[in-house]
Symmetry: C2
Subunit: 373 residues, 2 copies
């Protein structure tokens, strides 16, 4: 195996493929990256942690067919530290020789036969076409709401649902729910669950390939239990989460007793300040007192108390309701609108955060029961 | 006590004074910042960890004389999160009320009587005037060489020595030594040792006050065992390290058997790459083989080996010598010159790094004994 390639190309590709390398594994080969020079003179780099596999194929020079596995961290450190010049990589008696300018590295390689195969031979049943920027934005707007508790099964994932030419992405963790919606040109209905962690890596890969083509698309091929995202010359292989997702539409409140329109940033800033005292106690508890055209936000701890006022435009009943400030902050931070609408029913019903018009996003946050002291 | 002040001024001042607040203390009052409104309508903020005290005095409005201690972290978090508007701070029954725009905080205050007094009444025996930028640069060029082992006494400090109108700053830790020299207009000779940690904070404070006056000066007043730096409206009180500093001039080699001139960045880059394999073993060992007009840098570990070549201009004997790469890297990183000179005597004598001409800086690094395999 042999190839030459610019340091920049190699470093950039390694950054992407390395996202599938896990440090927390007892299987040594999974700490490696497979370098495979193909018949056609391209190089395929790949890495896998068994749940997630990333593969990138690109043109190289002076190619000689062959494959070998290198330690991802060491190889990456070396490539990043080399000067911006041509790098030649070659195998020699099971070792890997890396030459560039006045540097020569000779590092231990591993045989490729134990390396997990990424190229699934299964038939792909369907294909979804996303616009890069829209997919990245929908991931940002939902993934934070997925459960981070590995034992929680489907709700560690994001539901990707296509029906009636609308793409719905939904994440929830039992305390809050995020929904992002976009029109999509897709005749077929879909309903799959993609791990939120994988989706976050996809968003990063999209960002890192943005210079190449800002307006590009991402293809998703779905088979029975697996899927492949194709972003430029990068393929991301993943296992879908199996099981029935929560019937999220049943959770959405159908009407409201109190409706409030307010400036998103003023509200976010006030909640962030109020939670400076809330975070010391349990639950990051803040209290919202909605009355007339004002929301008074209060919280207290042994260290003191705080009162914030946010001017709003209100319709319906007055209301006093408590929240874990973290859940409100998380949702408000990903909303780009200047003005938003909050819908409430009672102090023990969830709050719904929506745009002034339409339903491009909906954030649902469960309240915290407040006592009188 | 009462005062009003812009959020920006208050936040900036808190950043500086907070550097003297320690989180690792069992004395609760040391986690606080003293707010004292003076007779003349200025506010003095101060903090101290007993070794280091910082005090900043500036104009405020609506002042009412008085003093109270606030928890540094909570008060700082609140001030930083408030909008860019006028903040009013006031004490009320032992609490501190903070008002700004639509926010009102009421936090617990502490009485000021247990707070350590910073204003030393001792007579200051002498004064040194530094140029801000030069002092900051000399700290950067020496402090990394001081010992970080708290039990090592004087060598956790930087020697500040003035003799023959030259300011010498010297730091060493038993493995390497850094010397920075500058001409200074000071008739009196001085010889004091300032903790490197304190000097690092001084450098940060200089950076943070740079917008005010780039070409400003820093005054240092020295009394018996204490000193005060005055940087604009900030005073830094510190305890000098007591004891005899190492006679550093006796350690400097008087001549050399091998003299090498090379490009600093090429040399640094090669050592950094070589240490990718060195760091796995003990001592970060790299081997320099100086021969003809080349330095071959090699290192190896179980993971592989590396060879780097750096073109140099050499006078004197060939030499093979080993180093802990960290000590070379630390010194090379703070040198601004493009070309530098390395002086050697033997494989068991220290290496001296100097400018091509003059002695504005000298870095001395002890070698590591290398075996033949």
């Amino acid at each position: 195996m042999k190839f030459s390639c610019s340091q920049q190309t190699l470093a950039k590709s390694l950054n992407i493929v390395s996202k599938a390398v896990t440090s927390r594994t007892t299987i040594p080969i999974l700490k490696g990256i497979l370098l495979r020079v193909n018949e056609d003179g391209t190089l395929t780099m790949s890495a896998s942690d068994l749940d997630l596999g990333i593969e990138k194929t690109f043109e190289v020079d002076n190619s000689e067919k062959g494959e070998i596995v290198v330690q991802a961290k060491l190889f990456g450190d070396i490539i990043r530290k080399l000067p911006n010049d041509i790098i030649t990589v070659e195998d020699e008696e099971g070792n890997v020789i890396i030459r560039c300018s006045n540097s020569e590295f000779n590092i231990v390689g591993w045989p490729s036969d134990e390396f997990p195969k990424l190229n699934s031979k299964e038939e792909h049943e369907s294909k979804i076409l996303f616009e890069k920027e829209i997919l990245k934005d929908m991931i940002r707007k939902t993934s934070f709401s997925a459960s981070i508790d590995e034992s929680r099964g489907v709700i560690t994932g994001i539901l990707v649902e296509i029906k009636e030419k609308t793409l719905n992405m939904v994440a929830l963790d039992g305390f809050r729910m995020a929904i992002s919606r976009q029109a999509i040109r897709n005749d077929r209905e879909e309903n799959i669950i993609i791990p939120a962690k994988t989706f976050n890596e996809i968003a990063k890969i999209i960002s890192e390939t943005e210079n190449d083509d800002e307006k590009g698309t991402v293809d998703l091929y779905i088979s029975d239990k697996r899927a492949v995202f194709i972003i430029e010359d990068t393929k991301v292989f993943l296992r879908l989460l199996e099981g029935e997702f929560v019937r999220y539409e049943d959770i959405l409140p159908k009407d409201s007793q109190t409706s409030v329109v307010l400036n998103k940033n003023d509200f976010l800033d006030s909640i962030e300040r109020a939670s400076l005292l809330a975070k010391i106690g349990k639950n990051n508890l803040i209290k919202l007192n909605i009355s007339n055209n004002n929301i008074e936000i209060t919280s207290k701890s042994e260290e003191g108390k705080v009162k914030e006022d946010v001017i709003v435009s209100k319709e319906g009943n007055d209301l006093v309701i408590g929240f874990n400030s973290k859940y409100l902050i998380d949702a408000l931070k990903v909303i780009d609108d200047e003005e938003i609408k909050l819908l409430f029913n009672s102090s023990i019903s969830p709050c719904l955060i929506k745009p002034l018009t339409g339903d491009e996003y909906e954030y649902l946050v469960l309240p915290v029961r407040i006592t009188n002291n």
